[in-house]
């Protein structure tokens, strides 16, 4: 578990602090992990605050309105005000609810969103833990969200919640297939499961990014990953589990206050996460597009690319209607999966010859 090979920026920082010399290395590691978790919790929280504001503003301008304008400059503090409101809101647990599971569910869902952030290569030397099986770790952690959502839906003792949970679980389990296959494309091209290695193998200009370098297979894989990841995180046009016009709010129907905002944080954390994964796998991670621009540090590029993908998520949400359940499954099994196999095959051929 604690290996020298796991390069950890937080461990490195803690090691250099002379004040903490009395601690044994294991404790230092634990301390570093706790700090990393806190840092990422705040990254998600702050990102969610900003992203919700951006989403509202983008939605507003797309719909010929202005969005929030009152709190702070152009309403930047609006989400903060909403967050405070949610924090001080009464914590309602309705009767007939399975209390233990009800309380546990948002924690599990949020935890999975948080845990994914460990392996993102933000910069050349900026990664919490460069796991050897980084991308596999991400796939493994993201499966954990399914029991969490089922837990939320079942414990709410509400038929709409159960519908939402069922839809969500079926959707996430199904879409793991095209997501996995699209990831395999990038892994095949890089020849490694480690996130940092995948990024490094895309060095030297944007034509070496996997989205362009193995054209068109890389592009197809990226497209499949992007679409399927939208479904994995329940965003429009695949937001059936929380489709308000059909099943009220899905598995979140009975939640309110802070517990509800945990689901919300997890949703935005997931948006950030899939954006970051797509950036790492297909858009060259922290690599600069052309060497002229290499004076801009890697983390900036990584953030910019991720934010662009998040913007596309928002943009799509305010454009498209919602699919039906059977069409969702049709798209997964009969469109995305075959094309993912085609691109795996193509990249395999490409790598061989």
């Amino acid at each position: 578990m604690i290996q020298a090979e796991y390069y950890n920026i937080f461990v490195k920082i803690i090691d250099q602090l002379a004040v903490l010399d009395f601690l044994p290395p294991v404790w230092k590691f634990i301390l570093a992990s706790v700090i990393a978790a806190l840092v990422f919790f705040h990254v998600i929280a702050i990102f969610a605050l900003v992203a919700i504001w951006v989403e509202r503003k983008v939605a507003g301008h797309i719909q010929d309105r202005l969005g929030p304008m009152e709190t702070g400059w152009h309403g930047v503090l609006q989400t903060l005000a909403d967050a405070i409101k949610l924090l001080i809101k009464e914590d309602i647990i309705a009767g007939g609810i399975d209390r233990r599971l009800f309380v546990l569910a948002p924690v599990i869902v949020f935890m999975t969103a948080l845990a994914v952030f460990v392996v993102f290569p933000v910069g050349e030397n900026f990664i919490v833990s460069d796991l050897n099986i980084g991308i596999l770790y991400i796939v493994a952690i993201s499966t954990l969200v399914v029991p969490g959502i089922i837990m939320a839906g079942w414990s709410s003792n509400n038929k709409w919640s159960l519908f939402g949970a069922m839809r969500s679980a079926a959707q996430i389990v199904s879409y793991e297939v095209p997501v996995g296959l699209a990831i395999v494309c990038a892994v095949m091209a890089a020849g490694s499961l480690s996130m940092q290695t995948i990024v490094e193998s895309q060095a030297g200009g944007f034509w070496n990014w996997f989205i362009f370098s193995k054209f068109p297979f890389g592009f197809i894989a990226f497209f499949i990953y992007f679409v399927a990841s939208l479904a994995e995180i329940n965003r429009t046009p695949f937001d059936l589990p929380e489709a308000e016009s059909e099943i009220v709010a899905g598995y979140m129907t009975e939640y309110s206050g802070m517990r509800w905002s945990f689901f919300f944080l997890a949703e935005y954390g997931n948006m950030l996460a899939v954006g970051a994964i797509a950036t790492t796998l297909f858009l060259g991670g922290w690599q600069t597009p052309i060497s002229l621009l290499s004076f801009i540090p890697g983390p900036v590029w990584f953030t910019a690319k991720t934010m662009f993908l998040v913007f596309v998520h928002i943009w799509l949400r305010w454009t498209l209607p919602r699919l039906r359940v059977d069409q969702l499954m049709y798209m997964c099994w009969k469109v995305l999966t075959p094309f993912a196999f085609v691109s795996i095959f193509g990249i395999g051929l490409w790598m061989t010859f």
Binding site: P24, I150, W154
Partner: protein, 168 residues
Amino acid sequence: MIGKDIIFIIFAVITVGSAALVVFSKKIIYAAFSLMLSLFGVAALFVFLNADFLAAVQVIVYVGGILVLILFGVLLTVKISSDNVISHLSQRIWGSIAAVGMFVLIFIAITRTNWTILDKSEDVVYYPQSEAIGIQLLTNYILPFEVASILLLAALIGAMFLVRPENK
């Protein structure tokens, strides 16, 4: 290395404790979610053994696949409005005999194994496993690998055949 031991003990307690919950909890849904925790604890123990690939696969297959299947089974077979999804402890005697027998077998196996190989080298050198597993699977163990995949394919086709609507 007291810290490492503490972490190990925490995960061991989680694994064993939630396994016990699986057996003793009255509500089936609690048992199912405890199983998730137990499987997750096992994955953590795999990490302790430097088997990170195995840990990830454990989570993907067991938590993401089998556990979700169990949960679906529980949810779809029982009305949600009825709260009494109770499991009964029946056949205690046979069950405990089987459990004790299993424990004795494993205990004997542990005591008889020669663990000294690991003691010699104080710091175990970590090397990536996924690559080695991949190479082994596609060279030495290609036949079992393919047989397993054919088995799974057969299961898939069988499942599709079973759920197909009857011809009218």
